[in-house]
């Protein structure tokens, strides 16, 4: 995997967009008619949720390619995507909990959307833990890829849970359901999180690949072996 600096640039661009979108959302976007200022949490919660789904879908694709074609590059990308997906899923749960308290009156409820998201967080968190415990890199790659394919079943369940079951959570936001005044901070932050995570995914994948190369490298020859070979 390369040494180029573009992931740092992408990460910086993502942070700059997030600063811009956050300033717009907190300072300039109008107050929502019913939720008031609390609705401003949407500008960070929804982009995080969208990108969590996207990153976990990328993990699923990496798992499929890793299983079908093999190769340590795809295993490194898989490791990066699982880790970023767990971070984003955890953040979605925290943001959602903070938004739930003033709007629903509770920090948490075992409603279909929240429950399937919690399953997602613990499922992928478990796969990340599994990778730490398996010493054999080949078994680690195969087992975690199979586990990701199985755990990914929960992603469409999270997405459609608000439509299929009776949920406290509102249905998905779209340009038709969100007022035009709220579009820009939402879009800017969505691209901000996307670029930030894309840059970090590449760096994390390079890190995983370097570790794998070190792990798979043959041990250096001992001094006695070198001496015997030169005799």
């Amino acid at each position: 995997m390369g040494k180029s600096v573009w992931p740092f640039g992408l990460t910086g661009l993502g942070l700059a967009l997030l600063a811009w979108g956050t300033t717009w959302g907190l300072g300039f976007a109008p107050r929502e008619a019913y939720m008031g200022d609390v609705q401003r949490i949407m500008y960070v919660h929804v982009p995080t949720a969208w990108n969590a789904m996207l990153v976990l879908t990328f993990a699923f694709l990496c798992a499929l390619v890793s299983l079908l074609r093999g190769g340590w590059v795809w295993d490194a990308r898989l490791e990066a995507a699982i880790e970023a997906g767990v971070v984003l899923s955890g953040l979605v749960c925290i943001q959602g909990s903070i938004w739930a308290r003033p709007t629903w009156g509770v920090w948490w409820d075992w409603d279909p959307r929240l429950t399937t998201t919690a399953v997602l967080l613990f499922g992928f968190g478990g796969i990340l833990a599994l990778r730490q415990f398996v010493d054999d890199p080949v078994k680690r790659a195969v087992w975690s890829a199979v586990a990701v394919v199985i755990a990914y079943v929960d992603v469409p369940l999270v997405y459609f849970s608000v439509r299929w079951w009776n949920s406290l959570h509102q249905v998905q936001s779209s340009p038709e359901t969100v007022s035009r005044a709220f579009h820009w901070p939402l879009r800017i932050n969505a691209f901000g999180v996307l670029f930030l995570v894309a840059g970090l995914l590449e760096l994390r994948a390079r890190l995983a690949f370097m570790r794998r190369e070190t792990e798979l490298a043959p041990p250096p020859p001992s001094e006695t072996a070198v001496a015997a070979a030169t005799r």
């Binding site: 997030l18 019913y34 008031g36 938004w99 370097m210």
Partner: protein, 54 residues
Amino acid sequence: MNEMTEMTEMTGVIKGGWEYVIAAYLASAVILLGYAGSVVWRYRRERSRRDAPR
């Protein structure tokens, strides 16, 4: 004044709530910046370990 008139009027509109907004943005900043810092730090450490002369 009876008990009903002393209660806050129920309008269905949430008033205030900036403390929740600030908490959500702070949590997001801490987690996203913390994760970004962690990835960059681990990447640089691994690269300097590999580039170091043996």
